[in-house]
Symmetry: C2
Subunit: 191 residues, 2 copies
DNA sequence: AAACCCATTAGAACCAAGTACTAGTAGTAA
DNA sequence: TTACTACTAGTACTTGGTTCTAATGGGTTT
């Protein structure tokens, strides 16, 4: 394996495993640490600590928004069983890099979370959804979602309407049928 | 501010800003670095590098799945304009902690991405969706999504059917109307 | 007042994973 | 032989720590 191959391979490897130290990389390629450092400096690849830090920082806000909270976006108001609102500030990480248009499932995620939040119940689950994305959202725009419980048909089934706006523009409208409890059997069957 | 207050406040602060070094913390609280280190050791809080590393590692897989790739899940097969399949292995981070049931928007995100991928076109955007979540998915289950283009009505509008299964079970079925190009005006209006 | 306790601070030695730089070797090409 | 390239070795220095020992300095108790 010559220099060019190694460097190409190094870049690939770090894309997959960004937490490898120079020492580990040196072992992996059977060269010295100095060689790895030379490679990194030529390829303009920062050190592990910087890579780790950048990754963590980059992902931090995003994950907080979409992954870790029960709500995607920030819950603003909540009248349990009636209505609720939440705000989600979109950013570049949520968008296609070429067009800067926010992936629709972020918009959906905000609406879906809000629909569940307004129903509450730890066991609330989306059973059905009907969504219209009215106009594309550009990274940076602030999404205001408003959820309203339309009716609670069966004791364990509610219909929630969610409308999302950016300023004056309606960007999303979705109806969610949220189930509670009923899943018990299914859940147990799964587990 | 006494010791107890400072330590409580330290924990809160690090929850919000996990990338602060001891030096920055010392400045913030107007005490010496040693005091901060004592506090950290008593509170069992690891150092910045470890905090950063843990955060990055924890978020990495998750963000790769939902945020950074154009596809949520891994694209398995793709016959452009006809059909495609992708796999998403769910994990605890995608689920409600109490019930271990995967949040429905992850399932939606996989389907939505796949619907866009099968249509291709960098400007593809979801215009409408119609989704049914047939049974809850438990963290750890492997979601196989299959997308099929039903018809391309207008030259810039396609209808895609996505069905997601876990083993033999159907867990999701959704229809997506995907638009291409048409958004141009809106997009420019937004920017 | 003297003795004591506690939180805080200082200082030294050490570590990991680097940067930046200098210098050397081994192999190949002109 | 000389020259060039790739690689390696070694030193001094940096950041952000750890671990340990040893002060300070204020408040409380005796």
């Amino acid at each position: 394996m010559d220099k060019a191959d190694r460097r190409a391979s190094l870049q690939e490897l770090l894309k997959e495993h960004p937490f490898l130290t120079d020492e580990e990389l040196a072992d992996h390629f059977g060269v010295s640490i100095q060689t790895i450092r030379l490679d990194r400096s030529v390829l303009q690849i920062p050190d592990v600590r910087e890579r780790t830090r950048a990754l963590a920082e980059h992902n931090y806000a995003l994950v907080r928004a979409i992954g870790s909270g029960e709500i995607v976006g920030e819950l603003m108001t909540l009248d349990l069983g009636r209505n609720a609102t939440s705000v989600l500030t979109t950013d570049a990480a949520m968008a296609f890099s070429k067009t800067r248009l926010v992936r629709s499932h972020y918009i959906f995620a905000q609406a879906d979370s809000l629909a569940l939040a307004v129903i509450d119940s730890d066991r609330a689950i989306t059973g059905l959804s009907n969504a219209k994305f009215k106009r594309p959202v550009t990274a940076g725009e602030r999404l205001l979602a408003r959820a309203e419980v339309l009716r609670s048909r069966a004791p364990n089934e509610s219909v929630v309407l969610v409308e999302t706006t950016v300023g004056e523009d309606k960007v999303f409208r979705g109806k969610f049928v949220v189930n509670t409890e009923t899943q018990k059997r299914d859940v147990e069957a799964v587990v």
